[in-house]
Structures are given as C-alpha cells and as structure tokens.
C-alpha cells in the first residue's frame, strides 16, 4: 500500500472499557470459584455419556406399546392441568392487571398490585405444588392449584404491560362523552387489549404444559407422576415412552396454540409489533 508509508501512522489512544473488564473479570472469578468448590466428582463426568447411553438404550430400545394408552391419558391430564390452571390464573390476573396499570389507576394502587404479582412470580410452581399436596392429596387438583396460583403473577405482569401500551385517544374520547370509570374500561380499554391478552394467555398455556408435565415428578398428577414412578422402579421402557409422549404432546399443543396466536395477532394491524420481542424476552422458553 501507498502513501503514507508503513509505520508512520499512529492510531489514537485506545479507550479503556472499564465496564467490560470488570464484568468479564467478575464472571471469570465466579465461574472458577464454582468450578473448584462445587461438590462434584468430576471423574464421574467421564462415565456420564456411557451411563446415559446405557439408560438411553434401555429406555428407547424396548418400549412397551401397551403403555401408550395409559401414558397418553396421563399426558392429557397434564394438558388439562395446564389449561385449567391457566384459566384460573386468568380469572384473577385480568381484574388485578387493570389495577396494576399506571395509566388506568393511581400510582399507589398500581404499586401495591405489582408487588403482589412480584411475590407470586417469585414462587416456583413446584414449590407451590409441594404446598398444595398436603391439602389436596396426590391429585391433579394440587397441580391445577399450583399452576393457577403460580401463573397469576406472570400473567398479571404481561397484562398490565399491555394495558400501559394502549393508545390514549379512545380513553380521551370516553372521558369526553362523560363515561364513568367502568364504562371507560369497557369501551376505551378492553377492545384495545383483548387480542394481545388472548395471545399471551395461550402463550402462558404453552409454558404451563411444560410446568405441569414436571409437577407430577413431585406427585401432583399428570404424566410426570408416571415417569417418576417408572424411573423409580427402573421400568425404563415406560419412562422412555413417557418422555417421547411428553415431547410429542408438547410440540403438538405448541403448534396448534402457536397457530391460533399468530392468527389472533395478525388479525390486528399495528400495536402488536411492540409486544412480540417482549414475548421473546419474558421467557418464550421457560420450559
């Protein structure tokens, strides 16, 4: 290359990115500490692949087709738990979400309602299931209650974020014709938020299917119970089939629910675009 000749050009001083270094160093320290202090015999990691392979061949090598009916029934029970739980959560989350939107109620009310959501969101469903089992016994109802109570927080949060994103024009119009508070909600807010809320509800249902499949592992009904029993009694074929049914069932419900969601969202023109990335962040993938 050309004028200017090699070595004659001096770059400006390179700026130091303190944040990046601190962040990076912190992460490295944390990882090293965990790696060295955790109570794991790392030598066992070498055996893990062969252990997995053994179990895998046992699980998928000789599956009992006779179990299909029973396990499918259990998967259906998991789906039922997820659906009813979602519905129960919605019954509570919808009215509460209006009380958490700062543009609809005063700030103090919104703040208090949000703290309720935050607390409920913090409790893992499995812990709730543990708490409901002594009350409801080892039944699907314990699962329904766990999912129902556990989803109020997340649904409420998603919903009030939708409410806060609405256009203010219709609200103003409602005020201008002298609408009461309730009328204002009914005609100014609800028509705007219904499609998104429905879409999020379905999305939460998809997440809850994964949750309810798991609840059975601690005894709260659904296919998880069958799988954990099978694993306990080393009934590998049944466990393997159960696993396949969980995956297939989840993917089927995801596909149907996802198609309905897309249809609902595409039925609307604007506004929805803002909620899509939100969906990705708030945990499209909790399961």
């Amino acid at each position: 290359m050309p004028a200017p000749p090699a070595g004659t050009v001096e770059l400006p001083r390179r700026p130091l990115d303190v944040f990046r270094w601190v962040f990076g160093a912190g992460a490295v320290v944390l990882i090293l500490w965990s790696l060295l202090r955790i109570d794991i015999k790392w030598s066992r990691l070498w055996d893990a692949p062969s252990d997995l392979w053994t179990i895998g061949t046992l699980m998928f090598g000789r599956m009992e087709s006779g179990d299909i009916g029973k396990l499918s029934g259990a998967m259906w029970e998991s789906i039922a738990i997820a659906w009813l739980g979602t519905i129960i959560a919605a019954v509570f989350a919808i009215p509460l979400s209006f009380l958490a939107a700062e543009n609809l109620v005063g700030r103090p009310v919104a703040w208090v309602t949000r703290q309720v959501f935050n607390i409920l969101r913090a409790v893992p469903e499995v812990i709730l299931a543990l708490a409901f089992i002594p009350l409801f016994g080892l039944t699907p109802m314990a699962g329904v209650m766990a999912i129902g109570v556990g989803s109020i927080g997340t649904l409420g949060k998603l919903f009030y974020e939708i409410h806060e994103g609405i256009k203010t024009g219709p609200l103003e119009a409602a005020d201008a014709v002298g609408a009461s508070r309730l009328q204002r909600m009914r005609w100014g807010v609800i028509p705007q938020v219904t499609p998104e809320m429905t879409s999020f509800l379905l999305y939460r249902f998809e997440v809850n299917i994964r949750a309810s499949a798991v609840l059975g592992l601690v005894g709260a009904g659904g296919i998880g119970s069958d799988i954990s029993q099978a694993l306990l009694f080393k009934d590998w074929g049944t466990a393997g089939l159960g696993l396949i049914i969980v995956v297939v069932g989840t993917i089927i419900v995801d596909t149907i629910s996802g198609a309905v969601r897309r249809r609902i969202v595409s039925g609307r023109q604007s506004a929805t675009t803002t909620t899509e990335p939100e969906l990705a962040i708030t945990g499209g993938v909790l399961g």
Partner: protein, 258 residues
Amino acid sequence: MIRFEQACVTYPNGVVGMKDLDLTIDDGEFVVIVGLSGAGKSTLIRAINGLVPLTSGRLDVNGRDVTKLNRSGLRELRSGIGMIFQGFNLVDRTTVLKNVLMGRLHEVPTWRTLIGRYPAADIDLAARALQRVEILEKAYSRASDLSGGQRQRVGIARALAQEPAIILADEPVASLDPPTSHVVMRYLQQISRELGITTIVNLHFLDLATAYADRIIGLRDGVLVFDGPGSDADEQVFESIYGRSLTADDTMTKHAAL
C-alpha cells in the same frame, strides 16, 4: 485486466442480468457504469468478484478464469478485489478499526480473528488506510456514531486495507447528499490515480458520471449499449442508454436544487 467474453447471467427467477457481454477493462482505468435500475449494473460488478456466477461465457480477472474457480479460489480472488457498497455494510456495533480490519480477513489466521487479536502489521495497514481517507481519529469510535459520508470513507478504507488491484463500488453515493457524494467520488478518483487501482463504479447520476469517469459504460437490460470516454457522453448518449428523455431525477445538481 478484466475481460468478459460472451458473458451471460440469468437469475433463477428468469430475470436476465447480463447478455452476451464483451468488455475489456485495462489496469488502472477508472470506469463508471450507468443505466437504469435493473439494467444490470450490480450484476456486472458482482460478476467480477464472483458474488454472482456467470451462467455462460467467460470472465478473466487478472489472468484467472472466474467461472472455473472453486470456493477457496474465489476467496483468493476476492481478497484482491475491494468492494464498496451503497449501504456501507459496516458492522454498526463495533469500532471503525475492526470494520477496516475486515479487509485483512483473508490474510489473518483464523484463530487470531476468533479471539480478535490482529497482527500489528495488519493494524498498521488498517490505520494507514484510515489515514488515506482522513478519518484516522475515529478509529475507536463505533461505526454507528459516524455520519453517512464518514461511514462510506470507512467503507473505502476497508477496501483499501485489502491492498487490492481492483476496487468495485456499487452505487457508493446513493445514500449520501450531494456535497458528501463529491467528497467520496474524489477519494475514489484520487486513490485510483495515485495507486493505480482499477476502479469500477456504478452510478445513477449522470453529472457525477461525466465529472469523474475516464470511461463510461452504458447498460440497458443487461446489454452493453455505450462504451466510450466520459467526454463523449452527452445528453443524447444518455437518452439512448436510458431509453427515454432525461429528467431532473437523473442528475444530482438539479436534484439538490429541489
């Protein structure tokens, strides 16, 4: 030297991008290609570095038959040809220097690019390329913090960092305002003259074309319809290239007056 012989490009959707092209471009020439959008300007430029493969015919670039190159041969060819884009094609989130170092990718070992540590010689080369377009002080700025004209200068620096024998510029000023456009065109012209780099530029504006080109090539529907020195290209010639009478949109200055 670049030589097309009976070169044709037909896209999978049936659109003809180049038809029976015979064209020779000598080393060090500054060539401007004009034509309506869709006339095959981009196709011609991208054929030279193999981004668009010929469907038939022959294309020699610096003694190599482009149609016969395999993947690593193509990479080798491309490393010697700098390219400048209408949309700049910079990585906005990273520094100007890192963007220019992209021009050194072919020469730098893979492991070095993966950890982001480039040899000092390559960094020096990138710095000199930035100096050449007078934007060295922005080396550690994010590309997204620059103005359009500055970004295109980074684009030129990236091409220069390849130490290319040929520079291809695809509508390099289409996203810029008139004064900035002239700055960018002057850089390209100077570089071509001082370093003897063959430069091929696609342009839409006729006044820019006549102002800077040593040689103008007119394309219409993928066919070469004019080839001559910039001074020969008058209004009539352009009307024949465009197949219609000229409008205010075809020149930059009137455009600017609007």
